[in-house]
């Protein structure tokens, strides 16, 4: 229960509000940019706001990419990626030029397809309905259709693979939440989604 939650600081994103939500839920959270601390963490939160390419470069330059993979792939610690943090866990993104991600979620990150989305505004900003599946860790005791706060222009393409636990529709279907073994991710911001988000974060922290 008294596991230490480490929030990865790579210079991008609203770490402050993620930490405030984790603390509100009664957990101890530290913000760290040290590869050794991140590699040895009990649980990781990878937040992020900004551009995929810049973020990936920041992770690489500070060797945090290796530290995250050490914690998650070798030491099998749980991680949750939030918003851009979710996208960074995917294989590639087209944002800012084709860029390789951490490769923990087997799908691609793409911009919302404007052609499909006639008259739909990008970025996708606001609370939207998320449809989750049964037996999800993240959505335990959360209604199967619940509202969460999104702000993004790129998204993870939905596909027939394990771990797509929640879908959101905005002009097209995309992955709103992913979970497979120790890898968790949400495109929405649980720390900005009122009690729905706090509950989901608590489910992750509690797991």
């Amino acid at each position: 229960m008294s596991k230490l939650i480490t929030i990865v600081d790579y210079g991008m994103g609203n770490l402050w509000s993620v930490r405030s939500a984790v603390r509100y839920l009664g957990y101890n959270a530290v913000v760290s940019s040290k590869p050794s601390e991140i590699a040895n963490a009990d649980a990781l939160i990878l937040p992020g706001v900004g551009s995929f390419r810049t973020a990936m470069l920041a992770l690489k330059n500070s060797r945090l990419d290796e530290a995250i993979l050490e914690a998650v792939s070798n030491r099998e610690r749980k991680i949750i990626g939030i918003c851009l943090g979710m996208q960074l866990l995917a294989m590639h993104s087209t944002e800012g030029g084709e860029t390789k991600g951490l490769g923990l979620i087997p799908t691609e990150v793409e911009r919302f397809d404007i052609d499909v989305m006639s008259r739909v505004k990008v970025p996708h900003i606001g609370f939207n309905e998320v449809r989750s599946q049964d037996q999800s860790v993240l959505f335990k005791n959360i209604a199967p259709s619940s509202d969460f706060y999104f702000v993004h222009s790129y998204c993870l393409r939905a596909g027939e693979f394990h771990g797509c636990h929640a879908i959101c529709h905005y002009g097209q279907d995309f992955i709103a939440a992913y979970e497979h073994e120790n890898i968790f991710a949400t495109q929405f911001h649980p720390e900005k989604s009122q009690t729905n988000g706090l509950k989901l974060l608590n489910n992750f922290l509690d797991y």
């Binding site: 839920l25 729905n196 608590n202």
Partner: protein
């Protein structure tokens, strides 16, 4: 489907929160007052978003504003947009590091277009809320006021806004100077001043006095969110009741369980109850 949003705007002036009526300010109290008499931590569970604007006259004390922002952000689990006097990327970064998710800019849209580009490059376009203070002129057009309403730009708003490149902000926050603080309802004509092919979300502000004004604003298909800065019209359970009456009336607003239910659910760990 994407839900519409109710935004609460807090106006900050040198350590005090203020009410504004047609841009004339009246002090109501400091942060302590806001927490104590207004129970802001509770009220924040009934809004979709918070905007905090530093409208201090003279030289702004940004570090004091950032401290207030941090204190507000603690226990407020909705997106926060902050601004007022942002003239550099560093100032924007300070706000983002103090709990803001978005930056509100007003005067620089016209005086420093390069700054908007830099902000978008650094933090993403979705991070920039362009705030426009619009005032109706005698001949029925609108003019754009800058520097907290102190100066009017030459030209009519419609033409000036047409000239802007379409992707400089992530959202528009349209404020009616004439309706500001009057409680007479929103001015929907503000939206006509934006190009018709505007593809970023639109927030309508200025004039909300009750729940039906909010409903009227949100009923316009072009409006994504409405904002109110009127502390007293929505005091006590005002926002909570406005929200439930709008939901009952079928307005597409986000829903979430009451915070008490969360406290019960999470009782296994020491949830900080506020």
């Amino acid at each position: 489907m994407l839900k519409k949003r109710i935004i609460f705007t807090l106006l900050y002036d040198n350590g005090q929160f203020v009410l504004s009526r047609n841009f004339r300010l009246q002090k109501v109290g400091n942060l302590e007052w806001l927490q104590k008499n207004y129970n802001f931590a509770h009220i924040s569970f009934f809004i979709d978003e918070l905007v905090v604007l530093d409208i201090s006259g003279g030289v702004r004390n940004q570090s004091a504003f950032c401290e207030t922002l941090e204190a507000l952000a603690e226990g407020c689990f909705v997106p926060i947009a902050a601004g007022g006097g942002v003239r550099s990327v560093d100032q924007a970064r300070s706000l983002l590091r103090s709990g803001a998710d978005k930056i509100v800019v007003n005067t620089p849209i016209f005086s420093q277009p390069a700054l908007l580009k830099e902000l978008a490059q650094e933090f993403g376009q979705q991070c920039i809320v362009g705030s426009l203070d619009l005032k109706r002129t005698q001949d029925g057009d609108y003019e754009i006021l800058i520097e907290s309403g102190a100066y009017a730009l030459d030209g009519v708003a419609k033409d000036e806004l047409q000239k802007l490149s379409d992707a400089i902000v992530g959202e528009w926050y349209l404020n009616s100077v004439d309706r500001d603080g009057t409680g007479q309802g929103y001015d929907l004509e503000l939206i006509d001043q934006l190009p018709t092919d505007c593809l970023v979300p639109i927030i309508l502000a200025g004039g909300a006095g009750n729940a039906s004004h909010i409903a009227t604003g949100l009923a316009d298909p072009r409006v994504d969110a409405v904002a109110t800065a009127h502390l007293f019209n929505f005091i006590g359970d005002g926002l909570k009741q406005a929200r439930s009456s709008l939901l009952l009336a079928g307005v597409e607003l986000a829903k979430w369980p009451a915070v008490d239910a969360l406290v019960d659910d999470c009782s296994s760990n020491q949830l900080v109850t506020k």
